[in-house]
């Protein structure tokens, strides 16, 4: 599975949203379950799925799917267009 697809699957599971509610432009403010617990779950999920452990500062700054991709790309994990 490609990284974009992996990330999408992860976000569907963590945020408990349906496929039609997801987009790569999704922001934290758009989803009720992307609350403070969701921030922790996203950090754990990134580590489980991509092997990168975000620091506390990095994790709290992840307020959109775009930013997650940006963080992972800056740490050598490539996302195909």
């Amino acid at each position: 599975m490609e990284n974009r697809e992996k990330l999408k699957e992860l976000m569907l599971d963590i945020l408990l949203i349906d496929e039609d509610e997801f987009s790569f432009e999704l922001k934290r403010e758009d989803v009720e379950t992307w609350d403070s617990l969701g921030v922790v779950s996203v950090a754990v999920g990134i580590q489980d799925t991509f092997g990168y452990h975000p620091s506390t500062d990095e994790a709290t700054a992840l307020d959109s799917v775009d930013k997650i991709i940006e963080l992972l790309e800056s740490n050598g994990i490539q996302f195909e267009q």
């Binding site: 599971d13 963590i14 408990l16 922790v40 754990v44 489980d48």
Partner: protein, 307 residues
Amino acid sequence: MTAELSLDALLARIDESTHVISGPSQADRAHQLFHKPVHSYSDELPENVHLIIAIGGGTVIDNVKRLRMQQRPEATLVAIPTIWGSGAEVSPVMVVDSGSEKTIQLDEALRPDFYVSLPELGSTVGPQMQRFACGDTWSHALEAIISPLATESLKQKLANVIRELSGLSLDHHPEWFELSRLACSYQAEAGVGLVHGIAHTLELPLSARFPDKNWGHARLCSLYLYPVMSFNQERSTKLAETCIRFHIDMDAVQQTLRDLFDASAYQQALPCLREHWMQVLRDPCSRLNSTTVKRNDLEWFEMWGAG
């Protein structure tokens, strides 16, 4: 923080404004100790109450914490646990039973002012309940030490608790009370995970489905600790790495988890887990699990049970 009080110091404080509450099984014992009428937590608190003594298990103590907070917040609350495991006597947490689900409420006003340690009370509880209480304590300690919110210093403290727990058999011993209080205090800071998410979700539906069986919180924590830790270990090396780093005997931990597990109860509860899986995923504790829990992970638990 909740301070320890000796029984003698408590007895010296008892006067006309003292109100004693216990569960039915401890009412006689409570009367012998305090020579006062013993009330139920379903009763209203009288207006002139200044000292409330709650004696019982986690449910009794939680309910008295709620009563005090809602009706007499100025009164002093002293909790006396009759069984270890929940840590209710020192925690600012209570389990709220809405009738359809159990959730956690956290409020500093819930925390008892004092606790009295009478470990001999634990021997008045049957061996099965003692075993479940041990599982409850283990689940707090293990889920907290691998929680994504556990700091290094908290992990060190939890590791000390786990090493002590490893030396105790799964039955009555005075040390269980103190160790469960510590585990509970630390888990209140770090959070717990999927074991508790499952326990909170399944307790009411399982109790409704099998009213003659005890499907309480402690039993469910004991039951699901082994499968959930196996799930976590398959997905992540966090538990194994934590054990190595903090000198915890992983083999001893694994043996305890196996000893706490009950295969036939697991099979009996499986349809309920299947039915309530989405609710399990939404539980705040499940969302704090050390590894991500996904919708299709239900299959893992079904297969694990079959294996």
